[in-house]
């Protein structure tokens, strides 16, 4: 028995020593083709140029909510042992998770990263009380993409559609629907991203001083009216859920326009027969200035379970902290557009993209990203988004805008415990 225990202890020690010796890290991400590719690019870069023994194990989970649930469970139980060393985390959720589970995260202030090399809007998510927790990965800058050929049939060009009002957009949309049978826009109707994107383009938020800013927010009320009008006029298809949005409206070629975070581009590009027919531009706004917004980017965070903090920090600082090789390959292989300003100077970002009619969309997106206004964020971002999405559905089912928004505001106030 004693012998057995001794052998066991030796084995454990050996395992512990060997795993500590190996330069190995684990990371969780949710999209093998997109952010998984970016992480692989970073791992290859670090292995080739810094540490030949480096190894990165990439855990692909089925969705970003899996990572969120992992953190909730680990944080609630105080047992971090099942977490990956590094996790990719959605920008809109991180503030709340750092507030709720402060012990889950590790400060990156001493990682030696030049923070000035990233856009301020992007960093505003991963910085909590002045402490940097995350290294930005993908840039959520919103694009407005149009089908050039379909616009042409109605006598418009992308230049005509740049810097326009939503009323003009609606008018063109009606023509496009009448002539081509396609909608100029589509969105997931249940977790509707449109109000947030459109409102950010106005420089406003659904929150003001930590409180919901909905019924009093004239721009938001106008935006909801525009959205409902577009939906009624077949200019906008609101799908029942996210899968319906991507699979039915975008992949089944029912739309002549797409507006969302630029991470939609890999999905759009799957419709190969439309290659060369798309171009991107800035967003319409209520008064017709060129709109800039961002939606749904993510960043990398070190968790409390990371045993080799030094390596994790060095890895993140070297790769996503500004390595051109990482960013170039992340873009080439995964279509991931980074937020690092100096890395975007590289040649790959300047290349024309055949799917987008040869337009150099990557440098354009990085440039647009620099204009995105910082708007007030809140821990209840997605809760708010859900309730406003519900309000839109209520209006479309015959409700009245003011009442529906009042309900949304009341429900949000209730959820926030205010």
């Amino acid at each position: 028995m004693k012998k057995f225990v001794a052998v066991l202890i030796t084995l454990c020690l050996m395992l512990a020593v060997s795993s500590a010796l190996a330069d190995k890290l684990t990371v969780s991400a949710w999209d093998a083709a997109f952010n998984g590719s970016a992480l692989q690019a970073a791992a290859d870069d670090y292995k080739a140029n810094v540490d030949p023994d480096f190894e990165l194990e990439i855990n692909i989970v089925s969705g970003s909510s899996d990572v969120e649930n992992d953190m909730t469970l680990a944080g609630s139980s105080g047992d971090y042992s099942n977490l990956s060393d590094i996790v990719l985390f959605q920008d809109h959720f991180i503030q709340r998770y750092v507030a709720d589970y402060p012990d889950c995260w590790v400060s990156l202030d001493d990682a030696g990263i030049n923070w000035d090399d990233f856009g301020a809007e992007k960093l505003s998510y991963s910085t909590v009380d002045g402490v940097h927790y995350g290294v930005p990965v993908d840039n959520g800058t919103a694009i407005m993409a149009y089908r050039v050929d379909l616009l042409e049939q109605c006598g418009y060009t992308v230049a005509d559609m740049t810097g326009i009002t939503w009323d003009k957009f609606l008018e063109v949309g009606k023509e496009v629907y009448a002539k081509t049978g396609k909608a100029l826009l589509s969105m997931d109707g249940s977790g509707n991203d449109l109000p947030y994107i459109m409102l950010q383009a106005e420089g406003k938020s659904q929150f003001k001083d930590g409180k919901p800013y909905i019924t009093e927010n004239e721009d938001l009320v106008k935006i909801i009216k525009v959205i409902c009008e577009m939906a009624k006029e077949h200019v906008l298809i609101l799908a029942n859920d996210w899968t319906g949005y991507v699979n039915e409206t975008v992949l089944q070629d029912q739309v002549a326009g797409v507006m969302n975070g630029n991470w939609m581009i890999p999905s759009m590009s799957l419709v190969t027969e439309n290659s060369g027919k798309w171009e991107i531009t800035t967003l319409p706004t209520l008064d017709g200035h060129e709109g800039y917004a961002a939606n749904g980017g993510s960043s990398l965070y070190i968790t409390a379970n990371c045993k080799n903090l030094e390596l994790a920090k060095k890895f993140l600082a070297y790769t996503f902290g500004g390595s051109t090789e990482t960013y170039d390959n992340a873009l080439r292989k995964g279509g991931v557009i980074g937020c690092c300003i100096s890395a975007a100077q590289s040649g790959v970002y300047q290349e024309g993209v055949p799917f987008f009619n040869g337009q150099a969309i990557y440098s354009k997106i990085v440039e647009m990203g620099a204009h995105v206004p910082i708007v007030e964020q809140n821990d209840y971002h997605y809760t708010c988004r859900g309730y406003i999405g519900n309000a839109i559905q209520e209006v479309l089912m015959g409700g009245d805008v003011e009442t529906a928004l009042k309900t949304a505001e009341d429900q949000l106030l209730f959820a926030m415990g205010l």
């Binding site: 969120e68 649930n69 944080g75 609630s76 589970y101 109707g189 029942n240 859920d241 209730f414």
Partner: protein
């Protein structure tokens, strides 16, 4: 005299009875009762799940529920599913069981298997299949369109009324066969001579069914009713996977809303979620109790 020996026969039997009961009772306590007590304690707390603190006042999570419109909607939805789906399902199940209990029916085994088969599919996958069937560009719309019954694609899952109907239809498909098997087993315990006697007394099929079969099946009916009520009150997979609670939370169930408050949307309000699950627990217990009192006619 016997007492001096320590254990009498009765005491020995009693002891062995306890010995057999203890492991199961302990497991039940550990896996069911202990969590229930913990859930109740959590339901009195509030704040981030990493640092829960007692809520102020203590029953705040419970009083909060009264003001929660979404919780009320979810409760209304759950009871709607319960009131419509459970009776239809149980009546269908008992009729199917009666049909398939016929000794002269050919391919009985095949039919029974086919009707029971939906139970072998996982809840998530069957919900996803129904979602595909009833999608805007789905099979049902294509069929109805080509038959000329509808003029344009119906957004089944995007309209509150039809979305609820789809959930009920899906549940009927999934659970009728399951309940039928219990009735079949119950029917097999009824002596054939009872039916012969009824036949001689001049009872027709319908009368036999109501006056012989149903009373003799009563214990099975009570059991299936309790199980179905319990299952429907905890309905989760269909709401999450078929409609995601939408449109605008009009099809959300209580369990789904509880999940949304604990995991899923980053809110992690475990105190409030526990309070709501405790309410569901009490509802299930009360309904089961009523059912047992009504159904049990032994004394």
């Amino acid at each position: 005299m016997n007492k001096k020996k320590g254990f009498g026969l009765l005491a020995k039997q009693r002891a062995s009875g306890w010995a057999f009961l203890t492991p199961a009772a302990l497991l039940l306590f550990l896996t069911s009762f202990y969590p229930m007590v913990q859930a109740f304690i959590t339901s009195l707390k509030t704040g981030s799940s990493a640092r829960l603190k007692w809520s102020e006042p203590l029953f705040n999570n419970y009083t909060r529920m009264l003001k929660d419109t979404v919780f009320k909607t979810s409760m209304g939805n759950t009871f709607l599913y319960l009131i419509i789906q459970v009776p239809i399902m149980l009546i269908l199940a008992i009729l199917l069981a009666q049909l398939l209990n016929n000794k002269d029916l050919k391919f009985r085994g095949l039919f029974r298997t086919l009707i029971f088969l939906p139970c072998a599919t996982s809840l998530v996958s069957y919900a996803l299949i129904f979602k595909t069937l009833f999608a805007r560009e789905g099979l049902i719309n294509a069929m109805l369109l080509s038959l000329g019954i509808i003029k344009e694609n119906v957004n089944w899952l995007g309209t509150p009324g039809t979305a609820k109907a789809v959930i009920i239809i899906a549940m009927l498909w999934r659970w009728t066969g399951y309940n039928m098997v219990f009735y079949l087993a119950g029917l097999q315990n009824i002596e054939y001579s009872v039916y012969e006697a009824a036949n001689i007394d001049g009872a027709n099929g319908w009368k036999t069914f109501w006056n012989v079969t149903v009373p003799l099946l009563r214990p099975v009916i009570v059991m299936t009713a309790i199980m179905s009520i319990n299952g429907t009150l905890q309905l989760f997979d269909e709401s999450v996977n078929l409609t995601a609670g939408g449109p605008s939370n009009t099809t959300i169930t209580m369990s789904h809303y509880i999940y949304n408050n604990s995991l899923g949307s980053g809110v992690a309000n475990f105190g409030y979620a526990s309070a709501m699950s405790f309410v569901v627990f009490i509802l299930v217990a009360v309904l089961a109790l009523i059912n047992m009192k009504v159904g049990d006619t032994r004394d």
